[in-house]
Amino acid sequence: MNTVFSEEQRDCLQELINVAMGLASDKLARFLNTFVHLQVPAIELVNSTQIPAQFEAQYSSAEAAFVSQGFLGNGGVRGEAIVLYQLDNAHRISALLGYDTDSASELEMLTDISSILTTTFLNGLAEQIDNQLSYSAPRVLSSRQNNVTQALIDTACHWELALKVDISYQLIDHSFNCDMLLLIPGEAVLNIQQILDRIVEEY
């Protein structure tokens, strides 16, 4: 599956994602009033059928959550962003976001955190390719009562290709780790390749 992107396209996408991460981290740091340590996100293109196996080991415990949010831009850029994380991580960041358990349920907190991470990151990506994205409301596809792997299998089967972006947010006195997956349908991959080619040509 890695062959669908040329080395130049891959390099270009990695750079766009790095910059998007930087923009997102800066916004988050200002919003949370803390320093966010930026790590270079590793990107990997995977056949969507391989996803469940990749995440099974890491998220097989019952204390993991999985939130999905659709995105849609101009020029046929569309897909589904999935954020996966361990619940104890979520509790750590929720305190920073000013949540207390009285005013918001755990599910509400999960969707908020995921939405913030997803939209700030993808907005940074869209900005660089002169695009604008709209988003569907985030949905918790699995939390403590449901099986993460099964939910991933059900979701992944709708997509041909997945762009796996390992994102690790480390906050100055808290660490927060999560994985983000961008699931992209076949024809949108072609559209994204065209955009990458245009950028590579420009320089």
């Binding site: 916004k27 988050l28 200002r30 919003f31 976001l97 000013g98 005013s103 918001a104 349920s105 599910l107 509400e108 969707t111 908020d112 939405s115 913030i116 939209t119 700030t120 907005n123 709209s134 988003y135 409301a137 985030p138 949905r139």
Partner: protein, 322 residues
């Protein structure tokens, strides 16, 4: 806000709420949908604080949401599944609908005016239909779960669910080293009774006797229908002597009073086998059933309408007859 011929009228006729506030949460715009549902006029509330006009909104929560929209310049969402509504509004469903207020899906979006001033726009979609369906679904699922556990005729537990409970109680008794006893009883001469009064007659005896038995049990006991006219009772935290006492009370409650069916008065009785858990291992519940069944067999053999408890010596007999 709505000064062109296309977007203006659409915004005003939209079947969703549109609300815009500035950075200080002062109301800038409400579309007709929101004005009508909340009975406020834009001209009267423009420039006033959102929290003053809609006093019921969860202020701390909404401030945090709007702050993230403004700071991060990205949308924020609220779903009826997690928070039924943000602004209390009546809905237009018939009064039979169980929810009093409109269930809402809200989207909060960042906006700018030409001078660069920042605003938050909140779109409010009516999700009452989904909310009502969800409630129906939950009620139905609860009923379904209930009917999956209960025997339709007698309303005691059905065999599958009862056996599951027996298994769990046996494990619990083993873990906490507490006594546990099992009663198995059978309505005497049920076939004869059916032949004489018809199946409806037989059914009404079963209904009446289960009601009498249930009245004698504790909340912690598990009463289930094991077969056609055979029933089982799991007595938690009860040793053999106590179980025999309960069995005798049950036996008497059935035989002491006839069941009235139409103009008939039907006299009936039961035979009861009692056994106390004394084995360990995974199959202990099956052994226990075997022992109680054995005692029940002896109660039948010795003339019915009586209680017989299982004693260890009978194992040899059981092995021999198998």
């Amino acid at each position: 806000m709505s000064n062109d011929w296309l977007t203006g009228p659409i915004l005003e006729q939209l079947n969703s709420g549109v609300l815009v506030v500035d950075e200080d949460f002062q109301l800038v715009y409400l579309n007709s949908f929101l004005q009508r549902h909340s009975s406020v006029q834009l001209t009267e509330v423009k420039g006033k604080s959102l929290f003053q006009v809609f006093a019921d909104v969860p202020e701390a929560w909404l401030r945090r949401k709007f702050a993230s929209v403004l700071e991060l310049q990205s949308p924020s969402f609220s779903s009826w599944e997690q928070r039924q509504y943000v602004i209390k509004l009546p809905h237009l469903r018939p009064v039979t609908s169980s929810s009093q207020y409109m269930a809402q899906n809200c989207t909060m979006l960042p906006l700018h005016d030409p001078t660069g001033r920042r605003y938050v726009c909140m779109l409010i979609e009516d999700a009452t239909d989904a909310f009502v369906y969800q409630q129906h679904l939950q009620t139905t699922l609860q009923k379904l779960e209930q009917s999956n556990r209960v025997d339709g005729l007698t309303q005691v537990l059905n065999r599958r669910y009862w056996e599951e409970q027996l298994k769990l109680e046996v494990q619990r008794a083993q873990r906490y080293r507490q006594p546990l006893s099992l009663l198995l009883f059978d309505l005497d001469k049920f076939k004869q009774l059916n032949d004489q009064y018809g199946h409806l007659g037989g059914d009404s005896v079963l209904i009446e006797l289960t009601a009498r038995v249930r009245a004698l049990l504790r909340d912690t006991d598990w009463f289930g229908r094991y077969g056609g006219e055979e029933f089982g009772i799991v007595l938690t935290n009860t040793a053999l002597a106590g179980a025999v006492e309960v069995a005798e009370r049950i036996c008497l409650a059935v035989s002491s009073k006839a069941v009235t069916f139409h103009e008939h008065s039907i006299q009936s009785s039961i035979s009861v086998g009692v056994a106390q858990l004394d084995t360990t291992g995974d199959r202990a519940h099956e052994v226990l059933i075997g022992q109680a069944d054995m005692a029940l067999y002896n109660a039948k053999k010795e003339g019915r309408n009586r209680v017989i408890s299982y004693s260890a010596g009978e194992t040899a007999f059981m092995v021999k007859t198998v």
